[in-house]
Amino acid sequence: MSDVFHPLVKGLLDGEATLAELPPELRAEGEEALQLLGLVDRAPVTLPAALESRVMAEVRRHAASPLRRAWRRLVEPREIELRLRIRPWAAWGGALAAAAGLALLLARVREPPAVRAVQTASRDSVYVRFVLFAPGARRVSVAGTFNEWNADAAPLVHAGRGGVWTVTLALPVGQHQYAFIVDGERWVADPAAPAVDDGFGKRNSVIAVTAQGARTL
């Protein structure tokens, strides 16, 4: 028996042709194939009783939980058919709005506000150096009307030995009140500057910043 039947013989086995339709030289091979087919056991197959339950258990094991099904429904791509009926005037309106938005965006890009702010600050600000002699202090900062009394905004650095703390800030032209904060809790006025009542029973130092420089008022 040959391992592989002729394609026409395979067609015979598949019912696509009859033995008479085969060429004479293939009829013997066709008969042999039909005999082999007749020998196949066509008795009904009886499966073991436990097989069905085992298969179903396996199917249930792989079946998705409700949560997973919901997740899949959310994330898995699905085909959606969208039908739009657009009136011409709406299309033109949308196009005009998009063009206006683009023009606004481009205008903003052309005039960067940050750069302008920096230029203004550089023109209207003066660098002022604050110095405090506070030996033994662990940290010192300066707060005032120029930084909305933020005690953390302007820390002073220890300038070498001897308890001298210093920081240089760009302050806007005008008059400012300020105080030093020593170790995060003690507010002290600048001993080198005039001071005024702060309204809370303590004193604020006063500094005047002009275009020509700064001086303690």
């Binding site: 009307t145 909305e148 009394w149 008059q175 005024v196 009542d197 809370f200 005047a208 303690t216 008022l217």
Partner: protein, 224 residues
């Protein structure tokens, strides 16, 4: 239809005020305790309705919060400042300045707080003509008075300086000079008197850009 129109107009009219209140509340958020924020927002709304600047009130509240001042004390200080702003605005209007700017009102309030009276504030503001800024003049006067210079003498000194044609920077340097005089043992009044006497005859009186005590050509008289 008419009631609806009236309601719309009322809403439109109150919108800026509500926005201003919202701004104040937002700026005070987490900087002062909630009761202080509520009270200051209310005070600021009242001040804005009377045409007074709100920023000094917000700054004072923030300052109090930063310094961890007790809530009632912060509220009292803000309320006192609002009263001073109103007094200053009234004094300025009485002196003929119909629409004083926020800075001038704030300077006037500081001067009032330092001990100047309404008449003196109006007088100083009237005298401060270009190139002098009335806001700066009032603030300098407030600082001088805070240093202990009597109010009358403060006003006289400021006016003498302006009449002598001193630069605005010369005015700004006055408190520092008073403080230097006090550091040398003078009383504030004596230190200010010395400045007043020297105002008309000092070599830096006219046209000098450098304020007193900051001339770079100063030589040591003891050096041969």
């Amino acid at each position: 239809m008419r009631p609806l129109l009236v309601a719309l107009l009322l809403v439109a009219g109150s919108a800026p005020r509500l926005t201003a209140q919202g701004d104040v509340a937002a700026r005070l958020d987490r900087r002062v305790p909630p009761p202080v924020a509520r009270a200051v927002t209310e005070i600021a709304a009242g001040a804005a309705a009377r045409g007074l600047p709100v920023e000094p009130l917000v700054q004072k509240a923030i300052e109090g919060g930063a310094k961890r001042v007790a809530a009632d004390r912060v509220i009292a200080a803000v309320r006192a400042l609002a009263t001073q702003l109103e007094g200053a605005a009234a004094a300025l209007r009485a002196s003929g300045i119909e629409h004083p700017g926020a800075g001038v009102i704030e300077g006037g309030a500081e001067a009032l707080s330092a001990g100047l009276d309404a008449e003196q504030i109006g007088e100083l503001a009237r005298t401060s003509k270009v190139p002098y800024d009335p806001a700066v003049t009032l603030r300098v006067a407030a600082t001088l008075a805070s240093l202990g210079v009597p109010p009358k003498q403060t006003v006289d000194l400021m006016e003498a300086m302006m009449q002598a044609g001193r630069t605005p920077n010369d005015l700004l340097s006055l408190p520092t000079q008073v403080q230097e005089g006090v550091a040398r043992g003078k009383t504030p009044a004596q230190a200010a008197r010395g400045l007043g006497r020297g105002a008309e005859h000092a070599p830096w009186a006219h046209g000098s850009e450098l304020p007193p005590g900051q001339t770079k050509t100063k030589t040591n008289p003891h050096k041969p």
